[in-house]
């Protein structure tokens, strides 16, 4: 009995470690939370002012990269006034949800 329990525990731990998919956020919740993002990232050709460059395309970007970018802004390791303010206001769950939503858009292809 103990052996079976131990095996089961070991297997579920292995499964949890091997499945980063479980760590992902909620796509639908992320869509709601990403409403604000569209104010700048949702306007084709929209440019940041001073310095002037296009606001990057983030729909279809990679999940882990999006999370890393938001964490860097939140910690001040990457500086941009608007993005730092946004990222600081996000919880860990918000970041997971938003990154899940944005990365899920890669499957639709460029539209």
């Amino acid at each position: 009995m103990t052996l079976i329990l131990r095996t089961l525990a070991g297997l579920s731990l292995a499964a949890a470690l091997a499945s980063p998919a479980f760590a992902k956020g909620d796509i639908e919740a992320g869509k709601q939370k990403a409403y604000t993002c569209a104010g700048c990232h949702g306007i084709t050709g929209y440019k940041n002012a001073y310095p002037t460059y296009h606001v990057p395309r983030i729909a279809g970007q990679n999940y882990e990269y999006l999370k890393a970018a938001l964490h860097e802004y939140a910690k001040g390791e990457r500086s941009h006034p608007t993005m730092q303010a946004q990222a600081e206001s996000f919880s860990e769950q918000d970041i997971d949800d938003i990154a899940s939503f944005l990365s899920s858009l890669s499957e639709e292809g460029a539209k």
Binding site: K31, A34, Y35, P56, R57, A59
Partner: protein
């Protein structure tokens, strides 16, 4: 009188210089492809990434001027990343323009977040 004219000329020259970004150098897609070999290990052959390495961003289909800004920030240290600082530090402005021109021209699912919210 002369001083005023001189001032006016100086002002117009300054305005003209600011208003003409056409002088800005442009990137070359073919040259960028040549220079992109070293990027491929992490960002994929065409900048669309490598499977199971999604901590690295897609570069394909990204705006070229944003990519140049990212490279400049890595080089200056404004954006901190040990791997990218090493690569960007070796690049001159023309290299950055060429790389950005190449990656932004590649097919990609990257797009603006315009049609997803009603």
């Amino acid at each position: 009188m002369i001083n005023r004219n001189a001032l006016r000329i100086a002002l117009y020259t300054a305005l003209f210089a600011m208003a003409v970004p056409a002088f800005a150098a442009k990137g070359d897609v073919a040259a960028g492809e040549q220079k992109s070999k070293v990027c491929q290990a992490c960002h994929g052959k065409d900048g669309n990434g490598v499977p199971n390495m999604d901590m690295y961003p897609r570069l394909a289909g990204q705006y070229a001027d944003y990519l140049v800004k990212a490279l400049k920030d890595y080089k200056s240290g404004a954006r901190k990343n040990p791997i990218m600082a090493g690569f960007a530090g070796t690049l001159e402005e023309q290299d950055m323009l060429d790389l950005a021109a190449y990656f932004s021209a590649q097919k990609s699912p990257l797009h603006d977040l315009s049609q997803h919210h009603d």
